[in-house]
Structure formats: structure tokens, C-alpha cells
Symmetry: C2
Subunit: 209 residues, 2 copies
DNA sequence: CGGCGTTTTGAGAGAGCTCAACATCGGTGG
DNA sequence: CCACCGATGTTGAGCTCTCTCAAAACGCCG
């Protein structure tokens, strides 16, 4: 799935001109530190240089919804180029480094450089599709089927091996499950022989129909 | 929320050049008819001229996930400009009419017309934020809170009146609830005085904190 | 070795889903 | 104008499933 879009450059490095990149402002973050919060004035586009960040919205119950996870090479706050304030919090999951490309510089670049604009647009289009896939996933109520869906969507080249980016607890958050439910269901699926678990991978025993 | 992006032209009419619009191919659809299905080769960008369409993905249980609802003036299949196949089904909810702008024509336009490209990009950015809001919504487990969230996000200018676009059953699908749960919870909220229901509107009694 | 966070397993309760029956509304045709 | 029909809207009762709270084992790092 998304085979074509996968080949599109996701890294800002690939489409921002040297001039824009030169205007980038580096910043380091410790694990757990906040890059920006919802409601704050938007500064521009961030590129993750090192580590991982997550975009979350917090509802009044203190529950966190993980909207996105960005690793090195990814950009965040793309949509904020067209908005005055951020609409979610960005928090470093690990020690991390980001580069800020000021809004005006990026917008000028997008207007003057069709190639950059096209790449940026393609990346947004890709994000729309990824988000829709996650929305589809959230429509699945059963924990088991939701995990199956995740494994199917995120399987590697062989179609049955999934590399886990972070901890299972993080995965639970991304799936919208409690970590207990995820642990339990994974254990059941392993017991029934549907999956095999290793250090940082899960392998599907049978290919999903 | 999204106050700024709301003012961005959502209609294709506003940014496609006359030449591209002239290349548009009209097509009529009866209620329930399918415009395209997941997996089919992408033809281009569609603009809804009349009626309403919905984009859905169907899982193996036959359950429908409503990814998007498009009304007159909206475009659909934007991301498909960068993909060889569609990733969801488009189904007419009412008798409808659409205009197809062939992929090559639109892509050429985006490359040659910075203004169009910018408008298109802004629209995609807007979609990303809308999708994230829906993803946030799906993280809310309680039916009541999910409805509250929907009402808060979709309240009109006065901040407490929400116009219902379609049937409650459709709304239930969009909220990821069964229609029974939605009916019941709306009835409870009306009984407790939290909302007031009219023909095609819901009004919040108190402004949500 | 000690401490902290992840991983794991247990038991109970709540909330939405499912199945079911009925009411209501809008359109159609006699 | 009225009867019919389908879809939406509404309410009831039971059940399943995940969430919640709890406690303990495990792994990693200082």
C-alpha cells in the first residue's frame, strides 16, 4: 500500500534549496521537552535532525492522542505554514535536535521554486493518505483486528515482517489501545501462532487475506 | 479553531485556471452509485458540482469507515494526483454531479501556476489538520465526550449552534458511533439540558469550557 | 546493586455494540 | 387524498470487550 508515495522524498533535505537550509535554526531538545504547544504562534517549519518527536493533543481528561510521530528526516508543523497558531503539542520522545525554517522563508521558497512546491505538496498528499489509513484503523473496534490492520499496513518488503520503531507502550498509544490490551492481545496472537515475536520485530505467520 | 484556514478557498473553482476548468469532464451519479473504488487506476482530480459524496474504506467485516464527506464545491481524490491507484471508495450519497480534471492537466497547472499550487497546498494542509482533529476525536472513548468534541469543533460563528449537514445516521458514521448510541446520547444530553435539538441544528446550552 | 520504566498477568466494572421491535417521516402511486 | 413503503429515528435488554485499577516480574542504566 502507498507503494508509490513511499518513494517520494520525505526528508526536507531533498527539496529545500540550499539558501533555505542555510536559514535553518538548530535547536536541541532533551527527552520529554516541549518544542511547541497548541495555541502558540507558529514560527515555521521544523525538520527533525536527530531523535524522535511526537505530536499530541491533550483532551481535558489529560488523555493524550498521538497525532503523529516524527523521526530524523521528517518535517513537522507543515500545516502551520498556513496557520497563525499551532494546533497540537510537539514533545521530544528522546533527546533530539530540530532545525527551524522560518515561515516566511519557506513560503517564499514554495512560491518561487515549483519543484520544491511540488515535493511539499506530494508530501502533504502522502500525509493525508497516512492519516486516512489511521482513521480507518481507529474504526476497527477489536484490539486484535486493529493490530492485524497495523501489521498489514506496516509490513516490510516481504509483507509479513514489521519492525517496531519504539516501545510497545508507544505503539499502544499510536494504536489507540491501552498498553495492557496490546500486551495481552499480542500474547494471545503469539500463543495461537498467528504471529512470532522477536526483539524488535513482529512476524506474521500467515499472510493476511 | 482553524479560523484562518476556514477562510481559504475550498472550492476548486477558486484556483483552477479557466483552461483547466474547460478540460473538466462532467459526470452524473445516482444516489448510491460508485464513482471509483479502491485499487482502480487514478484518473485525476474530481470536483463535486452537485450533491454529496463520501469516501469510505471497507474492512473485511463489511464495516464502513467514512474517511471524508464532500459536498458541492469540494474536491476529492486530491492525493491521487500522486498515486497510481485510489485508496478508498467514492460513493454518491445523493444524486450528484462531478467534474473530472485529468491528472496530467492538473499537475501541469500546479507546476506552471504558483498561485494555484499555493492554494492547492493550503487546501491539503487544511485537510491534514481536519484529519488530525478527527483522529483526536476518535481517541475519545465516551460517546458523550465525542459528541461534545464534535459540537465544539463544528460550532458556527456564535460558538454554540451546529448545523447538521445530513441525517443523524450519517453523523453517527462520521463520529464512529452506532446510530443507536448517538440517538441515545443525544436524547440524554437534551434531557439534561446540555443541548437543544431542532430540525437540522443542535444548540449548546452552555458554552463548552 | 539499586532504581525506574517497560512488560506482563489478574480481576472487576462500565460502556458501547448487537439484536430486536417499534415509531416517524417523506415520497409514490392508486 | 389516502394507503403504502422504505429509510430514518427511537427505545429496550443483554453481552462482549476493552478500560481501569492492582500487583509483580523483567530489563536497562547509572
Amino acid at each position: 500500500m502507498h507503494a508509490i508515495l513511499r518513494s517520494i522524498p520525505v526528508s526536507a533535505a531533498d527539496w529545500l534549496s540550499a539558501a533555505v537550509r542555510a536559514a535553518g535554526i538548530e535547536r536541541s531538545l532533551r527527552a520529554g521537552q516541549t518544542l511547541f504547544r497548541a495555541g502558540a504562534r507558529t514560527a515555521g517549519l521544523y525538520e527533525v535532525a536527530k531523535g524522535k518527536l511526537r505530536l499530541v493533543r491533550v483532551d481535558r481528561d489529560g488523555r493524550e492522542a498521538v497525532l503523529h510521530t516524527a523521526a530524523a528526516g521528517d518535517t513537522i508543523a507543515e500545516a502551520s505554514l498556513f496557520s497563525a497558531t499551532y494546533h497540537c503539542d510537539a514533545i521530544a520522545m528522546t533527546d533530539a535536535a530540530v532545525r527551524l525554517y522560518p515561515k516566511a522563508v519557506v513560503l517564499a521558497e514554495l512560491q518561487s521554486n515549483p519543484k520544491a512546491a511540488q515535493a511539499f505538496t506530494a508530501m502533504l498528499a502522502h500525509q493525508v493518505m497516512t492519516l486516512r489509513t489511521r482513521l480507518e484503523q481507529r474504526n476497527i473496534h477489536s484490539a486484535r483486528d486493529r493490530i492485524r490492520h497495523y501489521l498489514a499496513v506496516n509490513a516490510g518488503a516481504d509483507g509479513r515482517t514489521v519492525a517496531l520503531a519504539g516501545t510497545l507502550k508507544e505503539l499502544a498509544g499510536e494504536l489507540g489501545l491501552t498498553h495492557e490490551a496490546l500486551y495481552r492481545t499480542l500474547a494471545e496472537m503469539a500463543a495461537s501462532g498467528e504471529i512470532a515475536r522477536r526483539k524488535r520485530t513482529i512476524r506474521l505467520r500467515k499472510s493476511p487475506i
